[in-house]
Symmetry: C2
Subunit: 348 residues, 2 copies
């Protein structure tokens, strides 16, 4: 197992066992710097679900200066607490697991915050708060057909929470139906529509935190106190179509295993190495024909016929579920492998 | 973490932390028995890639009586050797990693077999054989645009392997372009066409092993010495459309987190809990609207409006990449959880 290699060993990209999830550190740092300039400190709440690695979170904190993070799962929250990254952790999701949330509150050196959108999820936050400090954000539906309540319900939940002694820090509302559309003008209009709903809710709920947004709308918000974004760090080919100032930092390296004369070739990164919900990955210098479990079959452009043993590079269509396919990401500066960061926040 | 729960604790399906990958043991055993009746002993080579669990492999061996297995990755091979399931292990894939293949050959108490389709992959098998017994199957392309060589190349590779002292056990040819088509008559015709190519290759190569097939064609082969099949054990909704005598044994249990009045509800199993390349999972009693990272948004049929906290059941569209999303599978008899089997052969 290569993770047992001595750390003093210098490895090059082409020596990595494949399929290998690779992180271009210069691109990552460019992305961190670009976002931190636009949304410094706590005006950005980096979303852990997009990278699921405490090492990467620590790098984002140290370089970007962001001290607050949000998570989609309790496993992510637990890992961040254990890694000492708990300054201001938000579970930007509902949970019904009062035992685990309570254990987390008891263990965290700082108060934890959780989203609630119903009396049931509020009751869970209340129960958990008996074991340690828990605050809530009221999750408001701003147009995405997922979690979140309407502004009137938000007001009622906030009143109920406060009367029970729970801190209500504010509201959150994720315009997930907007963030991926390549038309910036449309995104701007839709953000305004969604934020009109969140404004209505916030007027009723109060609190200092107004949390919304994502990578595709990070610079279209002029009212919220913080934007939740994670994909900007590593990027993918879907977000790559939006003309954002972030670079593709994540790729999968594969090895050509078989070449079929003049027709196609096969490399060892298949659909188990990618989140496939947004479609096939994209290759450098080649065209993906199709993916099967452990293979990508591809055709080549012009005279670029590969030979067995060649290395090829693939970019994922969707970053979040691609990262979760891997147990580690290799961190590279140019072609040199300088570290391996565990994807330690996978699973639930 | 629930995997630390004492083993004497009785748990019910509805008490599992969600999302939970669940295995219906009665359905699994039905599938094992049905296949073992049709293809007993070594006439079936169960494919580890479909379930990636040594505990499940051991159960298949003990109940079904199959002693030979095939794998798609070196990690799967290594795990099977370490688990003592190495009687007759085939890497039904090409590899260029002579160091790892050699270490595996050195460690395995039984000879290992590897597929080769080129002088490059044959050279790797030869190099590995210096450290322990390695045999080869010549991988023949029978119509699927992936690995495999033509019959003439197969003959040349076999001659080269034998002159170098390597055992050539026979041929393999996977008709992966055929196995998923719901038209049984078409599958039968295409199997015959593919096997005509493999016959031609086998006449030139020789050897006792003729390995082909999959779950969709397991009973359409009358000539091969063994069928490679794995999906029949757990099944998925794609294979479910073929009218095979296997039951759906794998599901994902989720909890309803949020209900939006009369329109839709949200449960906590999203696209990170499923292989999505074959499309959305299918719900019992509900219709999937869409999946996001950690959520499924769904609508309900007739009066079956769920409430927060309800449990729902989802069936994956593609079994192999769904299993790899999870670190364990909960084994149930009816609604009672009787074991948790680690998915210990994930990653590469």
């Amino acid at each position: 197992v290569v993770s047992d290699l001595p750390t003093w060993l210098t490895m090059q990209r082409d020596e990595l066992p494949t399929p290998a999830l690779c992180l271009d550190l210069d691109a990552l740092d460019h992305n961190i710097d670009t976002m931190a300039a636009a949304r410094p400190d706590t005006t950005l709440r980096p979303h852990v679900k997009a990278f699921k690695s405490t090492e990467l979170a620590r790098h984002v904190r140290d370089r970007g200066g962001h001290r607050s993070f949000c998570c989609a799962t309790l496993r992510e929250m637990e890992g961040m607490v254990d890694a000492g990254l708990s300054d201001d952790l938000l579970l930007a999701n509902q949970t019904l697991d009062a035992a685990r949330l309570g254990a987390l509150a008891a263990r965290s050196p700082h108060p934890i915050t959780v989203a609630v959108d119903s009396t049931e999820t509020l009751a869970v936050a209340l129960e958990a708060s008996e074991r340690g400090p828990v605050a809530v954000l009221i999750d408001v539906n701003v147009g995405m057909p997922r979690c979140g309540c309407d502004p009137e319900t938000a007001a009622a939940l906030a009143a109920r929470a406060r009367s029970a002694g729970l801190e209500v820090r504010g509201v959150m509302g994720y315009e997930g139906h907007v963030v991926g559309n390549p038309d910036r003008g449309w995104r701007r209009e839709q953000v305004a529509r969604s934020m009109a709903v969140l404004r209505e809710a916030h007027a009723l709920v109060g609190g200092e935190v107004i949390s919304a947004g994502g990578t595709g709308t990070y610079d279209l918000h002029d009212w919220v106190s913080e934007v939740q974004a994670g994909s900007y760090l590593l990027m993918d080919t879907a977000y790559g179509e939006l003309g954002l100032p972030f670079r593709q930092a994540l790729s999968v390296a594969a090895t050509v295993l078989s070449v079929n004369d003049e027709h196609y070739a096969v490399a060892d990164a298949g659909l188990k190495a990618f989140g496939m919900d947004h479609g096939d990955p994209t290759m450098v210098d080649h065209d993906v024909f199709f993916c099967s479990d452990e293979h990508v079959t591809f055709t080549w452009i012009d005279g670029r016929r590969p030979v067995v043993g060649d290395r090829v590079t693939l970019y994922p269509a969707h970053v979040d579920p691609t990262v979760t396919c891997h147990e580690r990401v290799w961190v590279l500066r140019g072609d040199e492998v300088i570290e391996a960061w565990p994807i330690d926040l996978r699973n639930w």
